[in-house]
């Protein structure tokens, strides 16, 4: 059966990629590793955002807030106990927490669960809203989360942020996390629940008339999305080695918005491509922020800030001229890859029905 073959191929691909990750970890310099890791983390968060925005069709802009929750769980619990007094030098850490230490994986899961829990509380009032109201409300909540974090000084060290997080620049670890997230999200989206999400995206009223509870499924999508955003945020914190409320301004969410718009709203594989292009692109664009000399003459255009201008123009161009993005709502499937390998050109001709 084709289904079995696809599963085997996917497993094989993941194993090979893990091999590549091990190789990269051993052979590549830490700067490149950091970029690859950032790609993977962004892929997790982009995927998580696609669950609500692309699949369930609920335009949420809360990713930065959920990431902050995950990142702070890592910050609070994985800093070695003996270093905490250094971190919390202004206001001492809450005595109940000061001696609680967790390994990274546990803090990640805790962050994901807490983010999902917060999403569940927020979701009940907010998910009744449509379109842009939902966008504003989720964005507002993402800011409220940040405000709360900034003010809960004895837990989060407030505006000073938490330093001394054991840095994690391990491609294998982050690859595993990304692979697991990818597999779980894909499995959910390909299940009956994923189809219910899509039904809500296509037509809420018809979905409801088919017995699909909007309340339950929107909340489910929102919580699952928050869970993985929390995990991604935790990894992000561990990768940076420090968390600070300023890292989680809602403009951070725009990165993931670009990822899913570019990759295709409603495409898992699209989010992967989007994440790679956006992260690598943002990194590459850094040279725009450096003064550049061409044949001995400094080009005045290149100075700090140009990178983000280019980035936002990219987002605009994407939505104005290329609304479907790379994948639209399609997926890159093994069938397509195999048929491409067999007949490299037929992919351009084929369209519509696959009569079997």
């Amino acid at each position: 059966m084709n289904n079995k073959r696809n599963i085997m191929l996917t497993i094989a691909a993941l194993v090979i990629l893990f091999g590549v990750a091990c190789f990269v970890q051993a052979e590549v310099n830490s700067y490149v590793r950091r970029i690859i890791n950032l790609c993977l983390v962004y892929a997790i968060i982009g995927l998580s955002m696609n669950v609500t925005n692309g699949f369930a069709g609920q335009f949420s802009l809360g990713q930065a807030g959920f990431m902050a929750i995950g990142a702070y769980m890592v910050g609070i619990f994985t800093v070695p106990v003996e270093l905490r007094a250094d971190v919390f030098y202004a206001v001492p850490m809450n005595p109940h927490l000061v001696n609680v230490y967790m390994p990274l994986w546990m803090a990640l899961i805790l962050g994901g669960v807490l983010a999902a829990f917060v999403a569940g509380i927020i979701g009940t009032p907010v998910l009744r809203l449509r379109g842009d109201y939902l966008a504003i409300a989720t964005l507002g909540f993402s800011e409220i989360i940040r405000i709360v974090i900034t003010n809960a000084t004895s837990i989060t060290n407030g505006a000073l942020g938490i330093k001394n997080i054991p840095p994690l620049n391990d491609v294998r670890y982050i690859f595993m996390a990304a692979a697991i997230s990818y597999v779980l999200i894909t499995l959910l989206l390909n299940s009956s629940y994923g189809r219910a999400f899509k039904a809500i995206r296509e037509d809420e009223i018809a979905a409801e008339a088919m017995g699909i509870s909007l309340f339950y499924h929107k909340n489910l999508a929102f919580m699952v999305s928050a869970f993985f955003a929390g995990i991604g945020g935790g990894l992000y914190g561990a990768l940076l080695g420090t968390v600070d409320p300023k890292n989680f301004l809602f403009t951070l969410t725009y990165n993931f918005l670009l990822i899913i718009v570019l990759g295709g709203m409603g495409s898992v594989t699209g989010s992967m491509f989007g994440a790679i292009i956006v992260t690598a692109g943002l990194e590459y664009l850094r040279l725009f922020d450096e003064p550049m000399e061409l044949m001995g003459i400094a080009i005045p255009l290149f100075r700090p800030g140009l990178r983000m201008v280019v980035f936002s123009i990219l987002l605009m161009v994407c939505v104005l001229f290329w609304r479907r993005g790379i994948m639209g709502t399609n997926e890159l499937t093994w069938e397509k890859i195999i048929s491409f390998v067999k007949h490299p050109l037929s992919g351009f001709r084929k369209k519509g029905v696959q009569g079997k």
Binding site: S192, E202, G211, S213, V353
Partner: protein, 263 residues
């Protein structure tokens, strides 16, 4: 005695100053085909929306009986709950899941019977796998029966208009309803297609043991298969009776048939 499947008691729907439906009292009995007719804007679709939970009636109750000796007041319940209780519907201006395939459209309608939770579904636990297989088998059987199997991979929106109407009915059938509400199923169909649809409605009623309540403008369809007809004008019921009685009713002819000759 034959069981009453659906009953509306003094259902009234008011939007601001406009009374869209006024004191509607409808009785639908098991295995019947009941038609709701009336000029455009008479409040027919509003009545459907009151029954299926899209609106909550301003006044009155909607009583539904899924089985002998069981009566449920469904007034103001959520549309999804009402669908889960066994009332399915179609829409006047077709509401398919446009970008999804024909197959997915129907498969989604099976979701409401799913018992496995989302974790069981994500991890493909045996219970879920079994349910998924059963759902797919059901959908395959259903699509083959209505000759939509060959187009199962097409996007719903790419089907010809008439087939979209059928697909919407099939999608409603996939929820395994006891009561089916059809909102203008023959809209936009020519006489030949309408005749086929008439036959189809009768067939599915017998095949799936349904009770059918429909809004329709095509009078030949209505007159041929309805057990009883309710006529609405400006939100008020102006006549009730079997097709013969309605055809000869003065008020109906004046309010409706007189103006609408394409009947």
């Amino acid at each position: 005695m034959i069981r009453t499947v659906l009953r509306t008691e003094h259902v009234t729907m008011q939007f601001g100053g406009v009374i869209a439906v006024n004191d509607l009292n409808i009785v639908v009995k098991e295995h019947e085909i009941i038609a709701l007719i009336g000029p455009n804007g008479a409040g027919k679709t509003t009545a459907f929306n009151d029954i299926t939970g899209v609106y909550t009636p301003t006044k009155g109750r909607v009583i539904y009986s899924p089985a002998e000796g069981k009566e449920i007041d469904i007034t103001g319940r959520k549309p999804s709950e009402i669908a889960q209780l066994g009332i399915a519907r179609t829409f006047q201006n077709i509401r398919l899941f446009k970008d999804l395939s024909v197959y997915e459209n129907v498969l989604i309608a099976k979701h409401l019977h799913l018992e496995s939770n989302f974790l069981a579904a994500t991890f493909r636990l045996p219970g879920y796998k079994k349910e998924e297989e059963a759902m797919r088998a059901d959908v395959e059987r259903l699509l083959k029966e209505v000759n939509l199997w060959d187009v199962r991979n097409e996007k719903a929106s790419s089907l010809p208009y008439g087939k979209q109407r059928y697909l919407e009915i099939v999608r409603a059938l996939a929820t395994e309803p006891k009561l089916l509400l059809l909102d203008e199923p023959a809209a936009g169909m020519n006489p030949k297609e309408t005749a086929e649809l008439t036959e189809f409605i009768r067939q599915i009623r017998d095949r799936f043991n349904l009770t059918i309540f429909m809004i329709e403008h095509h009078m030949d369809l209505v007159m041929e298969i309805s057990n009883r007809i309710y006529v609405l004008d400006f939100g008020t019921t102006i006549a009730t009776g079997d097709p013969a009685a309605i055809q000869n009713n003065e008020r109906v002819i004046k309010a409706y048939l007189g103006e609408d000759e394409d009947a």
